[in-house]
């Protein structure tokens, strides 16, 4: 193919486009205004014949840039998949004819809309180049699993079974983790009627027998450098030796630590040996060695036992866990059945407030507990009085009375806390604290931080970022396995509280994601949500002021800094969100097919009518993950959108450069609507922090409006979900009303 650029436009007249729009006029717009060297029409461009026409032009006429004016860029992606050229699409179907009424008085504005979208697409295409991998990509099939508990063991077994060599690093001297030393586990198969055999010994054997799993016991990760496909990991042993491994992708299965019951003095945990946690009861059951469980204080066979549910969890009290461990009700049912199995006619009571038994077999297992004569009492324990026989005081919630019961042993159903390592942003929290109290809290968190698990040599800290309560961050709604460090997947109770079976399922998923990440890295392709994308950000070094905005704002910690303070991109850590691009104050960061320029050109090439035409223009920048699809669906549903709107899809609101807003206002747009995803703790942003970063950046837009002497209502930013099919168009129409009220922009020249 020649180095010369050749631009070709294609206008589809199918799907009613030909009837509603003047295709000849569109063609003229593409060639005259859009400077396409050629433009062809087809009555059904997505048909085999239409696609072939484009393919032939690429092959025979050396077309390098293709503009398709047809349906939304989200439709017919398989048909219009031309990997050898730069490609853009003008959305005339969902973007124009489906959102405008088919009446004579609207023909003119509808045609104007379509012409504008063609101009915009052509202008965008002019500043695009075909994306291709950076050349930095490398394939490395080794999977590192950090943590040798049931989660890590599962991940190792699964990845190895798929043919990927595994290095399994475990801190202690043996595999199995917390579950390894349990008597039995919650049943995982029908009929779910009794505790099941512990799977760990079998798994240990499988790992020992597998020839592509290398186990590193008494070892930790001393250093993780690099990126997916080329991680360089230093594994250090307790004895001081170390070895460096090259790794494709990582699964972090660092598990949980049991809640410290010393924080529950009301239950006499610190005073009586016969008050134990659910975790400790497992050891008593194992020690019973098939005989009756004995109480710790004097070795008496337990004849009555009381389980206190939600001990120190689901509570706002100081020192308690605010969240529920998810499984501790099932665990208590399991353990109550130990007593029915081992201790004969032992009085076994579970004191619960809300009994939650999730999972396929949860309800059946609960019934099995009832069948075996475990007493379930709805009540809230307030105190355990130590003594030869323990007294549990509780409020019976059914009989509405304060009452008590005597028993030999009390088991506290306490929760689990994630072993997630230090919060990489702890220092940032201190620096950015808004008041002294917040600062002191952040400082304490920083000082009490646990040792690092991954020791990442990243500009943004040593470990995976946290969400709430110290659990590793993951996009819960769409990509639960994705963390904020590409190619590193957390699995098991470090991600959210879960039981052994859930952890095993989780580990299997994470192992597959790790394999996918290693393979993607080999091809230079992006992971979720722009999976397969080959474009990557690069920066113009001459222009860079070393301001560090990009290295700080990248939600995925993809950018390191070199000695001089210039950003160092790591293509395979990058998710292609463009947040760095939106952040850069001197606009030197760009992708081949998405840049400050590609959007700027679209903004500038929409025709702004003269003031006396009384046709406002509203610029809509819609996140391509949620807002843009919501608008597409609205179009399918026939929801009307104001004819003055011009929508530009953006990769993430985080990629929106303040300059686009300023330029748009300067060139006479009357209103600007930005739509991104929800950004708080329950965020839906596909790039996690992109939307939040954008909101922060745009808070400065007021100054711009001020300096231009424009009304603040002209620029708005909304959180939009993919389900906002009615609301998203409404937000655009609202802006049209606002403009009508406050009048046109004075910046029309």
């Amino acid at each position: 193919m020649a180095d010369e650029k050749k631009f070709a436009g294609y206008v589809c007249t199918g799907c009613g486009l030909g009837e509603r729009l003047d295709a000849g006029q569109l063609e003229t717009t593409a060639t005259r205004d859009g400077k396409m060297q050629s433009c062809k029409q087809h009555e059904m461009l997505c048909s085999a014949e239409g696609v072939q026409m484009i393919k032939d032009d690429i092959a025979n006429d050396d077309v390098t840039h293709v503009m398709i004016a047809a349906c939304s860029r989200r439709a017919k992606v398989e048909a219009f998949n031309f990997t050898d050229v730069a490609l853009t699409r003008a959305n005339l179907r969902e973007g124009v004819i489906w959102v405008r009424p088919d009446t004579d008085e609207n023909t003119e504005t509808t045609q104007e809309m379509a012409d504008d979208y063609i101009r915009m697409a052509c202008a965008e295409l002019k500043s695009m180049t075909k994306p291709s991998a950076s050349g930095e990509q490398s394939l490395n099939k080794n999977i590192l699993v950090v943590g040798g508990g049931i989660t890590g063991m599962t991940a190792a077994i699964e990845a190895a079974a798929a043919g990927y060599p595994v290095h399994l690093v475990e801190k202690s001297g043996k595999l199995g983790g917390a579950i390894g030393s349990y008597y039995k586990v919650i049943p995982t198969r029908s009929p779910y009627d009794a505790p099941a055999e512990n799977p760990v010994p079998g798994m240990t054997e499988a790992i020992e027998a597998a020839d592509n799993i290398t186990v590193h016991l008494n070892s930790t990760v001393a250093k993780t450098d690099g990126a997916p496909g080329r991680f360089s990991v230093e594994v250090a042993t307790e004895s001081g030796t170390s070895e460096t491994l090259t790794i494709g992708a990582i699964v972090q299965a660092s598990g949980f630590k049991p809640y410290d019951a010393n924080q529950l003095p009301e239950f006499a945990y610190d005073k009586s040996a016969d008050v134990v946690t659910n975790h400790e009861l497992e050891a008593l059951a194992v020690a019973a060695n098939g005989g009756p469980i004995k109480r710790p204080s004097d070795g008496k066979e337990v004849q009555s036992v009381c389980f206190i549910q939600n001990a120190g969890q689901c509570s706002d009290k100081e020192g308690h866990l605010t969240y529920f461990a998810g499984v501790t009700d099932l665990v208590s049912i399991k353990q109550a059945m130990y007593f029915k199995e081992l201790n004969g006619d032992c009085d076994t009571t579970i004191l619960f407030d809300n009994l939650r038994t999730p999972g396929a077999g949860g309800e059946d297992f609960y019934r099995a507990g009832q069948q075996s004569m475990v007493t379930f009492s709805k009540g809230i324990a307030s105190e355990v009085v130590p003594g030869d026989s323990l007294t549990v005081k509780f409020e019976d919630k059914i009989l509405n009375e304060e009452t008590e019961m005597a028993c030999d042993l009390v088991v506290l159903a306490t929760g689990m806390e994630p072993n997630s390592g230090p919060d990489p942003y702890a220092q940032l929290m201190v620096d950015e604290a808004e008041d002294e109290e917040e600062k002191a809290k952040a400082q304490a968190a920083l000082e009490n931080a646990p040792p690092s698990i991954l020791n990442l040599q990243y500009r943004q800290g040593t470990d995976l970022p946290h969400l709430k309560n110290g659990f590793t961050d993951s996009h819960f709604i769409c990509f639960p396995y994705e963390t904020r460090r590409t190619g590193i997947y957390s699995a098991g109770p470090v991600r959210r509280p879960m039981d052994a079976q859930q952890a095993r399922d989780d580990a299997t998923g994470a192992a597959l994601k790790a394999i996918q990440a290693a393979e993607n890295a080999g091809l230079g392709r992006a992971a979720h949500p722009r999976s397969g994308d080959l474009s990557f950000p690069s920066f113009r070094k001459e222009g860079c002021t070393q301001c560090k905005r990009c290295t700080v704002e990248c939600p995925f910690g993809a950018i390191n800094e070199d000695e001089e303070g210039y950003p160092m991109y790591n293509e395979s850590r990058c998710r292609r969100c463009g947040t760095c691009m939106g952040a850069c104050p001197v606009r030197v960061i760009s992708f081949e097919n998405y840049s400050v320029e590609t959007v700027n050109q679209q903004i500038k090439n929409c025709e702004i009518p003269e003031e006396w035409d009384e046709k406002p223009r509203i610029l809509v920048m819609a996140c391509e993950n949620d807002a843009y699809p919501a608008l597409d669906q609205a179009a399918q549903a026939g929801v009307e959108i104001n004819p003055w709107a011009r929508v530009i899809p953006v990769r993430c609101l985080g990629s929106v450069s303040l300059s686009w807003v300023t330029d748009a206002l300067n060139s006479g747009y009357d209103g600007i609507v930005m739509m991104g995803c929800r950004r708080d703790d329950d965020y839906q942003c596909h790039f996690v922090r992109g939307s939040a970063m954008a909101a922060e950046r745009m808070s400065k837009v007021g100054d711009t409006l001020d300096s231009l002497n424009l009304e603040p209502e002209r620029v708005v930013l909304h959180e939009v979900a993919i389900t906002d099919v009615e609301r998203a168009p409404q937000l655009i129409n609202d802006m049209a009303e606002t403009v009508e009220k406050i009048g046109l922009s004075p910046f029309k020249f």
Partner: protein
């Protein structure tokens, strides 16, 4: 208190639940209640009772033997079957209510003058005489159960109803004198006696 009661206390000292499982019709279901409260919410009368069904089941599990056996709540059940239709755990609640009533009566723990219990006794005695219910006598027994004076008052109050029933041939005054019986009365009585023996035997075994 009856001997039977003392024997049962002795036997199931620690677990009223086990006593109910062994001796009350459908009692083995009590442990399966998950305390959702749907039955109590569905029972048209439950809110007027001292203890709606859910609470009774909880009391059984909390070993509140005396309170359960001497409450009149289960006697108030009208067998509407609302609770059974709705219980997510499929407990035969209506039957358990009746079973508990029967058990408390057997142990002699039923409240004196409990109207349902009284009526049940009158009905039973009436039925046993002729092997069929003599409605005229049943009605009269009910009128006069609280003494002669009250009986006359009740009869006067319902005079019109009685006359209309006779006119419509729904009641026959001649039934007052003896009244007719089932075909094989002695056979009927033998059958009932046998059934009673079996039931008593069950309880004795339980002792």
């Amino acid at each position: 208190m009856s001997d039977l009661n003392t024997a049962m206390i002795e036997k199931y000292r620690s677990s009223f639940l086990k006593e109910v499982e062994a001796n009350v019709e459908e009692g083995e279901w009590v442990k399966m209640c998950m305390q959702c409260g749907v039955c109590s919410g569905s029972c048209p009368l439950g809110k007027h009772w001292d203890h709606p069904p859910q609470e009774i089941f909880m009391m059984i599990r909390a070993n509140k033997r005396d309170e359960v056996l001497s409450t009149d709540s289960m006697w108030m059940c009208t067998s509407c079957y609302n609770c059974i239709a709705r219980c997510p755990r499929g407990l035969p609640i209506t039957h358990i209510m009746h079973g508990l009533a029967v058990y408390s009566k057997r142990l002699g723990l039923t409240q004196k003058k409990q109207p349902t219990a009284e009526f049940s006794q009158i009905f039973w005695d009436n039925l046993m005489k002729k092997g069929r219910v003599n409605e005229l006598k049943l009605g009269l027994s009910m009128y006069f159960k609280d003494g002669f004076g009250q009986g006359i008052k009740n009869a006067m109050a319902n005079q019109k109803l009685g006359q209309n029933m006779m006119k419509a041939k729904r009641m026959n005054a001649m039934e007052f004198f003896g009244g007719h019986s089932v075909k094989d009365l002695s056979g009927f009585q033998k059958m009932v006696k046998k059934a009673q023996e079996i039931e008593e035997g069950n309880l004795k075994d339980a002792k």
